[in-house]
């Protein structure tokens, strides 16, 4: 999105199409199976032989967060509970049943401390976004959404200075907020990449919605449920309940944020007066190396 907006602003094009699609479910992918992430990446010989799957890399982040900040499985479970409250209204969601904290922490352990219901679905699917110049936007008969600010960053193992308590969002988030000229308390709706419940907790902290280490308390007691809590998130059900069509869930996050800004989300989850929204994605593994991108948008 940011690259498209920059290209348009630079006069290189006036309409940009962004697409993402994947068939990981048909292809039998599983977040529990170790796979080589870049055969020529220098990190691979120090990761792949150890059995780094997706889930256990994120599970190490969860284990450290619990150890360092006292975060509990029950607090993590609230992320899934909130997503399920939203997914019940999405007829396309893979998982539409509302779940309880007890059901999440009672589901089988996959990679300690993460349970089956801490994990996202694996689905086929795709999405597309069209970004246009202001001139073209004004000629369209649709509610307009404007890019306010964006940031992107990456994080690796940093030569052994490993700190699993934060993500690339610590840099992409502030960059996006600075460009947009708004602060976290201005955000009415947030799409937060949710490969696992812990992913949401760490990223919310990094984006400044709460202090570092307080993410577990922040998400508890329905604080992410639309109409209930302070920060409605992933009102389509997110990756935890709706879909997760490829390795990066970013495009579905932007799409639901745009729906919210246009007032076109499901009436049961539509945020009233949603004028500013944020979408944040992570690609890669929070537990080893990844990129992060933050996008802030407003309704015009």
């Amino acid at each position: 999105m940011a690259h498209a907006a920059e290209a348009i602003a630079a006069g290189k094009c006036s309409v940009a199409l962004i697409t993402l699609a994947g068939r990981p479910r048909s292809e039998g992918h599983s977040g529990a199976t170790p796979r080589i992430r870049g055969a020529d990446a220098p990190d691979t010989q120090w990761e792949f032989p150890l059995g780094v799957a997706t889930v256990n890399a994120y599970a190490m982040v969860a284990a450290r967060h619990m150890h360092q900040f006292g975060t509990t499985s029950e607090q993590l479970a609230w992320v899934k509970v909130a997503a399920s409250h939203h997914a019940q209204y999405n007829e396309h969601a893979m998982l539409r049943d509302v779940v309880t904290v007890e059901q999440v922490v009672g589901s089988p352990l996959i990679a300690t401390p993460l349970h089956r219901l801490d994990c996202c679905v694996v689905s086929d699917g795709g999405g597309a976004l069209v970004v246009v110049s202001p001139e073209i936007a004004r000629s369209l008969k649709r509610p307009l959404v404007k890019v306010m600010g964006a940031g992107e960053s990456m994080k690796g193992q940093m030569g052994g200075n490993v700190d699993l308590t934060y993500s690339a969002g610590v840099r992409s988030g502030p960059a996006a907020f600075a460009e947009a000229g708004v602060k976290p308390s201005d955000i009415k709706y947030a799409s937060i990449y949710d490969s696992f419940t812990i992913t949401v907790v760490v990223q919310l902290e990094d984006l400044g919605f709460c202090e570092k280490g307080q993410g577990g308390r922040f998400v508890a007691d329905g604080n992410l449920i639309s109409g209930v809590g302070r920060l409605p998130f992933n009102t389509d059900g997110g990756g935890l309940c709706n879909n997760h069509p490829a390795n990066r869930g970013g495009i579905t996050k932007v799409i639901e944020a745009v729906r919210q800004l246009r007032g076109e989300a499901h009436p049961k989850v539509q945020v009233p007066n949603c004028d500013i929204a944020l979408a944040h994605g992570t690609g890669g593994l929070l537990g080893s190396r990844h990129g992060g991108a933050t996008l802030i948008m407003e309704r015009e």
Partner: protein, 130 residues
């Protein structure tokens, strides 16, 4: 003990060949920088902390503390993936073996050991309770 997961052979590179050659002799080498004095992991030709090219191999006794650990339950053979912080400073991704998977925890002291790898690959550095 339950059957252990078989470890694939690492794909070595010119930069890391001395590490794997030493591993075949049971020696655990890490890289330190003679410019900034810091050790790093994984081994590189250039120091990732200060970017100098003056790195050297040193043998490590392989003592460390678990920084984080996750026991992979949904696998044919249960195994533990972890980050271990070495006494020399760097934190490295590894496996914890010969441990009680119900008790292994952050803060545990661990000692380096080796596991054979597939296809006659070099032994791989893992850790066991100290």
């Amino acid at each position: 003990m339950a059957k252990e997961r078989s470890i694939p052979a690492p794909m070595s590179s010119p930069e890391t060949e001395p590490f794997w050659a030493a591993a075949r002799q049971g020696k655990f080498l890490i890289k330190t920088c003679t410019s900034c004095g810091k050790a790093h992991w994984y081994p590189r030709a250039c120091c990732p902390h200060c970017m100098s090219e003056t790195t050297e191999w040193v043998e490590s006794p392989g003592r460390g503390t678990i920084y984080s650990v996750s026991v992979m339950k949904r696998a044919p053979e249960v195994y533990a993936i972890a980050y271990v912080t070495l006494e020399e400073g760097p934190t490295m991704m590894t496996n914890i073996v010969e441990c009680d998977f119900d008790k292994v925890a952050i803060g545990d002291k661990v000692q380096l050991t080796w596991r054979p790898t597939q296809d006659d690959g070099p032994p791989y550095p893992v850790f066991k309770p100290a």
